[in-house]
Symmetry: C2
Subunit: 482 residues, 2 copies
């Protein structure tokens, strides 16, 4: 039947060709019935869309993987963990299907295996503690309910589930609990409900509890072994690298913004603007959530690499907050320099030298702080660099102070300030940024003290982060050291 | 034996009292053996610490609950959902303990029940889809492996678990997948591993799969019914309220900051500084994470209240981003006015009027935008308010322009600009804030169009968000309307 239809269609097409003899071969191809064309176009469209979607997705996946190959490694680690736990149970007679103990071990591996060691430890700890406390509490209430008689038993059990689940859920809104035990509370409610609602007798329950603790331990153990032994990713180290990397980005960005502001005319002659570099401060604006979660997870981690167990992770957040205060100011600076009012060239050249020097000084301070954090050594040159930055601030203030007299002489006084406004504001914000860099210096100083950074050779300058008065005026900063 | 020891100790105490007859009664009390004192002190310390900790925790919990009573309601809702699901299974003969089906329903309720309806729907959808696809995929692979012979079977199964778990885990790093399907992928891996590793035959598995889909549906159904029917919290509405509330905070904060800057002398005469009010912009700086997650969840929600299903939730994020740009500038402003350099009173009084007027104009625009979003009506007065704000900018620019001549006459020219600097910078940042307020106006205009806000009575002014040239110059803004 289908054959006959298609034969008829072909015939129709041919017939039509005969009727329109001036039609070319292209017309013959087009002469197929509409629905074939449309179906073909639709099919091609679908295939092309699917292929382009798949290619796009593949490219995105590739870039995600090549940006940080540890992500691929993490995928392989989870696969390994799961295979290990399934093999472990595959070879044991204890195993009895989906309802059996294997389930809890597999579930533990899937849920507890996190990207960072801290995440893994946090979830593993939460799961173990929550399961055991909820289990024993539920067994206790079960025992009490069973003494209360057959009629009262379901009432007592349901009421206890209701009250404990409500209270535990509410407690998740308390920030301190949310930050550390959110997952634990889910597991607490889960285990408590499961045990309380179950129809087992207390002695059976004790056996079950023992088995479950045993399987969860195996799951958590396998997770931790794979997570720590195979290319571990430490949340603490990530935070350390993030903060010191952001300091460098902030430094580059400050330099780039000031260059963009004062070098504009040269740029128009063909020199490319360092836009990508100067926008680095935006990373600092947007990294709060990452930093908070990494600091939170890092607290669960044991000592690793150069970090001991109680490394002052929360101080990194304070350094980051101080950096963000700089970044806010730089955002306002960025707004000022993209203002439409063109600054007169003489004002620009008047402020150029001092502004670029100050931006260099400030970014040298930031880079020195970054390398101090990175190497975990107290900086030898930081106090000189801060003094140099303060000199830079004064020089820029002098330049600003001498601006009106210079400028008033040449122009109508009424226009002078208005035209110079964006540059004056920019210079003023630059001074504000330098002041905020000082609070970054202080925060890093506290970090150096709390984390016992290796002292610099000159012990007298050990506290140089906070005292910025140079012991020896002849010591000049060496920015090329940075 | 213990009795004897303590009696001897008491005797020692007495004996000591006899030897030191000038000792008062206080000495007698102190004359008890050291360890009793220490134990007592330790015990009192512990009890006091526990009590004060408990009181502190109770206070915190109380404030969390009284800040937003819906949190308490959420706790009660979860309790109700769990009690319902447990009663459902308690009364059925199907029920057979922890390993049985009840477990999956209880687990679903515990894990899927989220604070917002969007969260609940997102997790419920993810859980259902992930369970079914992973289940059928695993059954298929199970069937294929069973055909491959007894030796190849475990190898095929383990390899498939390894490959799928690795790939799925890696895919969680792709941002688009992470945002919407993170939970689904966990459940996918979990279900696939459980089914693939299980020792059941294919026909048993199909029966199991059917049962599991059935129980999960019951769990998700109970969750959704309780979540939607009992005081529902809609993520979309929360986002809507957050954004319009933040606009008011930003407006108040701008007004407060400028008042603080220019009214300082009056404040010193006893008027309290509106510090809390002026720091409202910090809420805007810190609300990005909340907004992102709420917009993400709101997309899962059906139409509710005044919002239809495909309400343009992502446009709220753009409004919020534009607000954050204002807030960055206000942060820099805050830095400038807390500078140590005291501005001369004559400069201050010269700029006071225009600055306060501009801050009022800008905050009126922001408040009008807030009430437009809140009522979901296009604003009638917004274009007049924007024109008024632009006039305010020009007036402040005029004031700044006339500043040098006035000032140079009275003082030494070399100091004038330096002393006036913080105020000039502040005024300049105020102008920048007003320019950024315009991009908030544009973003809200796009929102009004996308969300089809109720048009204002005067249809000609419907597009007034983007075109800020007044049709009728005689129309003056009425800030008291806001």
């Amino acid at each position: 039947m289908a054959m006959a239809t298609s034969a008829k269609e072909v015939q129709d097409g041919l017939e039509w060709r005969v009727r329109v003899p001036q039609g070319s071969l292209a017309v013959v191809v087009e002469s197929q019935p509409d629905w074939v064309d449309r179906a073909w176009a639709w099919l091609t469209g679908i295939v092309l869309a699917v292929v382009s979607k798949a290619v796009g997705f593949g490219r995105k996946a590739w870039s995600v993987g090549s940006d940080d190959p540890r992500r691929v490694v993490h995928g392989v680690k989870v696969g390994t963990g799961l295979t290990l736990v399934s093999l472990f149970y595959y070879t044991r007679p204890l195993y009895d299907g989906v309802g059996g103990w294997a389930m809890w071990a597999v579930m533990t591996v899937v849920v507890v295996f996190e990207y960072t060691v801290g995440g893994c430890l946090c979830k593993g700890f939460n799961r173990s503690i929550a399961t055991s406390t909820a289990g024993f509490l539920a067994v206790g209430i079960h025992w009490a309910a069973s003494k209360a008689g057959e009629k009262a038993e379901p009432v007592i059990l349901s009421a206890s589930v209701f009250i404990l689940a409500s209270a535990a859920t509410f407690s998740r809104f308390i920030p301190a609990i949310k930050a550390r035990f959110d997952y634990g509370i889910t597991i607490f409610i889960l285990t408590f409900s499961l045990v309380a609602v179950s129809g087992y007798r207390v002695d059976q329950l004790l056996f079950l509890a023992q088995e479950r603790v045993y399987t969860i331990s195996i799951g958590v153990g396998i997770c931790l072994i794979v997570c720590i032994l195979v290319c571990p990713v430490w949340a603490g180290q990530e935070l350390h690298l993030l903060v010191s990397g952001n300091l460098v980005k902030l430094a580059d960005s400050l330099q780039g913004l000031v260059e963009e502001c004062f070098m504009e005319d040269e740029a128009e002659e063909g020199k490319e603007l360092p836009t990508a570099k100067s926008q680095g401060y935006k990373c600092v604006l947007n990294s709060k959530a990452t930093e908070d979660s990494q600091a939170n997870l890092a607290k669960w981690e044991p000592g690793h690499g150069r970090f001991r167990f109680r490394h002052p992770w929360s101080q990194y957040l304070k350094v980051a907050a101080a950096m963000r205060y700089c970044a806010y100011c730089m955002e306002a600076f960025n707004g000022c320099i993209s203002s439409e009012i063109k600054a007169p060239e003489d004002v620009k050249s008047h402020l150029r030298g001092a502004s670029i020097k100050l931006s260099l000084d400030s970014s040298n301070v930031l880079k020195e702080l970054s390398s101090s954090i990175m190497s975990m050594k107290e900086s030898r040159s930081i106090h000189c660099l801060v003094v140099e930055m303060k000199n830079g601030v004064q020089e820029l203030q002098v330049a600003l102070r001498s601006l009106p007299t210079d400028h008033v002489k040449k122009h109508r006084a009424t226009l002078s300030l208005m035209e110079a406004m964006p540059l004056v504001t920019a210079a003023s914000l630059l001074i504000e940024v330098s002041e905020r860099v000082e609070s970054v210096v202080e925060a890093v100083g506290v970090l150096a003290r709390l984390a016992s950074f290796e002292p610099s050779l000159d012990r007298k300058k050990a506290s140089s982060y906070s005292s910025v008065v140079p012991q020896d005026e002849s010591v000049r900063p060496q920015p090329q050291e940075v």
